[in-house]
Subunit: 198 residues, 2 copies
Amino acid sequence: MADLSVLEGLIQALRRLPGVGVKSASRMAYHLLQHDREGAELLSQALHQAAAAVRHCERCYTFTTQAVCETCLDESRDTTRLCVVETPADQSAVERTAAYKGLYFVLMGRISPLDGIGPKDIGLQKLMERASDGVVTEVILATNFTAEGEATAHVLGEALKRRGVQVTRLARGVPVGSELEYVDLGTIAHALVDRRNA
Amino acid sequence: MADLSVLEGLIQALRRLPGVGVKSASRMAYHLLQHDREGAELLSQALHQAAAAVRHCERCYTFTTQAVCETCLDESRDTTRLCVVETPADQSAVERTAAYKGLYFVLMGRISPLDGIGPKDIGLQKLMERASDGVVTEVILATNFTAEGEATAHVLGEALKRRGVQVTRLARGVPVGSELEYVDLGTIAHALVDRRNA
């Protein structure tokens, strides 16, 4: 069907999305063309606008449409603390706790040797510069508690300590609201080691 | 983060894709903006072009960029046979067998009472007109062998028979290359009922 190279092109383009194979891409293309042309146009415009307008904050490297993001510009923030997270979604999770008033550094990734992502690919150099600006006194490592997140925290922690910056890591322990019976053993073991005075 | 309404808009637009929730949409948006801006622009253009150019074939209702699709225009085709499929992907599967030289009618869906999709929503009327053009002598129902596909075949078959059109259905049976031990019982039961002379 040579007259359908436009549809073929759309399916190929949809496959650039992470986690979308040829079957999902076809399903998405058929759905948009059959039931939601408005959605197709909307998505087309949103992609174009975002690709043109979104860039990285010069200070914390998160996504922003300005040179420096609103969080970094917020003068009510505690500039002596820097919380390092993997993604803007993680930053948003920390932010929603309302328990942190310092600034952020967003790695936009994690060290992942299997995917060929090393320290250079997650802006280690940029973080080092940011953390040694003379104002930051504590860097809180809030990478995920996965194998890759822990490895990232380790590498960053070692590099930061060598520069004399105080480094802390989010506490590991039993999640709020959980019953011990259903908590995995590794978590309980960590909670025992890190136990605190009641 | 008010300066990120562009990113928010992209995430919302990605959620219009079938099977994409807010987590997947965020992941897609971050991936495109962080690692594949070219892919974002490509997808934006592909969506716009497809939404503008792709329409339905006047004869078989499949997707095409012309008034009548290439398959319907192909003069070497047997115009007396009409194969009814649910989607262009199904049509493509039948086409790849090279065992069918007739024409197609693409329903662009199936009857699905749970989703509120009735006979009118899948172009029953259009199919009736197409099948009663005086040239078509046999309609081959090739909807899927799922509950919904079978129901669709039943409804279409009854309506077509009332108009005096010969209606056939794809044979049910044991798939080529499969071992009986691993074939589901319903399929074996159907294969027994529909057994043929060796």
